[in-house]
Amino acid sequence: MLTTIAISAAIATSIFVVLFVLSLAGILTWVERKQSAIMQDRIGANRAKIFGLRLWGLFHIIADAVKMFTKEDFIPNTQHRFLFSIAPVLSIFFALLTFAVIPFGNQITIGGHSIPLQVANLNVGILYIFAMMSVAVYGVVLAGWSSNNNYALLGGIRATAQMISYEITIGLTLVGVIMIYQSLSLMEIVRAQGGLLFGFLPAWGIFYQPVGFILFLVAGIAETKRIPFDIPEGESEIIGFFLEYSSMKFGMFMFTDFIETILISSLLTTFFFGGWQVPYLADAGFVFPWGSSWDMSIWVVEGLRVISFIVKVCFFCWLLMLIRWTLPRFRFDQLMNLGWKVLLPLSLVNTLVTAGLVLWLS
């Protein structure tokens, strides 16, 4: 029923998600430079100034955006001009669409209606995520094909092969999660992580599926073509699929990289780190395992939950950046080897063991 409250809730949550994701992706460009600099005993970019204020190089985000917009937008001599132009759009469109089902808070009650803090409260959220991640491959393959360049085509084929190989591991790992939480809806999964395990541990997914967490982390990094799995991007070692792109089309691909980093971080927090759950925080306030409690109004509780979601996503983004600047790149055959011969069997074993345990304990 499309009441005014429902419509305005949808608009408000969409605006929040889009602003959050795009701002965080912009900030991640700065974090990448600064974090890598601090890890490498350097200072990083700190020269962009507005009114004489340097602000630790934050204005480089704006400088990069302006540079991207003002560069020459070159379309190579190809017959597929439409596909060439639409490939980056597809990439970023489906990466952004996946955020529609990720819950960033519990629910807010306004005027008798309870609004879940999620753009689309689908009860098949996980299937939707699989669908969006699968369609994201199109952006890559179209970019490689329509560039009219042999090496870009090879880069596109490599990227496609990598993405579809690691999607399987992601899917199987999430099967384990689905079996434990008995639901495909992400909001239900996050709500189910609210209890306590053994009396004092928050019942987060990582304690139920530690192997699944590692598998999902590795497969997620590979799916989004981050280092150590960034052979498709290559960056000065091997030709990537976005060779012929310039200006904002290339900027879209780079932005997709960061948005997918945020996506994998959000999925990791949702499935394995409790999503928006704060440890020991119930709807009425904190309830500590040693007995004491701390009452809070529902608005403070919801605010804390949204903040905890943001903090967890930022932590995982930081971790992915750390891994990016630490590990060397996998060779393509090592990458495919890992995807098919190591991660796939491990995720199958994980699924079997989880199924056995769920049956045995129920």
């Binding site: 601090i38 890890m39 005993d41 750390l322 600047w325 630490t326 590990l327």
Partner: protein, 196 residues
């Protein structure tokens, strides 16, 4: 037949089998991450402490913030030339033409003038060094018998908009100071001398 020595490397000695922990790679990832996280935390801590005012802490980065701070150069670095002065302000140079003769790039031009004092005999009326031609070999410094020319200003930022302006005359060369005195100056102060 010419005998050749060939370096033979036994490949099997170089490529050893990996242990089980090395093959599953995750412990190696953890070792690598430990190094980088340690660098991250230590540097961030040092940056924070210096930002809140404790300048005695070691800096968190090895970066020199050029152009505000110059990288410390070696004592024997051959930078821009200068002409030294006697205690009364006159140039030490006696226009003996040793530096002009030894210069491999032919960039020094001296015109001599008479001096009444018989101990000094000559002085340079004009002393031009074409910095655009100079190869910074330091032969002129070695050849000079009076310690009149030195290459110790510490100025390495030599750029100009025209070749004409790269020819430094005697007044410019006398006015330049040694590296210790140039140390605190901003990097572009030479540009005012070199812009045509």
């Amino acid at each position: 037949m010419i005998a050749r020595t060939v370096n033979v490397v036994n490949v099997s000695e170089r490529r050893r089998t990996l242990t089980f922990l090395e093959r599953i790679y995750l412990p190696e990832v953890m070792r690598g991450l430990r190094v980088t996280v340690r660098h991250f935390c230590v540097n961030l801590w040092r940056h924070t402490l210096r930002a809140i005012g404790m300048k005695s802490v070691q800096p968190g980065a090895v970066t020199f913030q050029y152009p505000e701070v110059r990288r410390p150069a070696g004592e024997r670095l051959r930078s821009l030339h200068r002409l030294t002065q006697r205690p009364d302000g006159t140039p030490r140079c006696v226009a003996c033409m040793m530096c002009e003769t030894v210069c491999p790039a032919f960039c020094i031009e001296i015109v001599a003038d008479e001096v009444p004092d018989p101990n000094i005999e000559k002085r340079p009326k004009s002393f031009d060094i074409d910095i655009g031609r100079c190869v910074f070999c330091g032969y002129c410094v070695e050849a000079c018998p009076e310690d009149a020319i030195r290459m110790d200003t510490g100025i390495t930022e030599i750029g100009s908009y025209s070749r004409r302006a790269m020819v430094l005359d005697i007044d410019t060369l006398l006015a330049l100071k040694s590296a210790e005195e140039n140390a605190g100056k901003p990097v572009d102060f030479l540009q005012k001398l070199l812009v045509s």
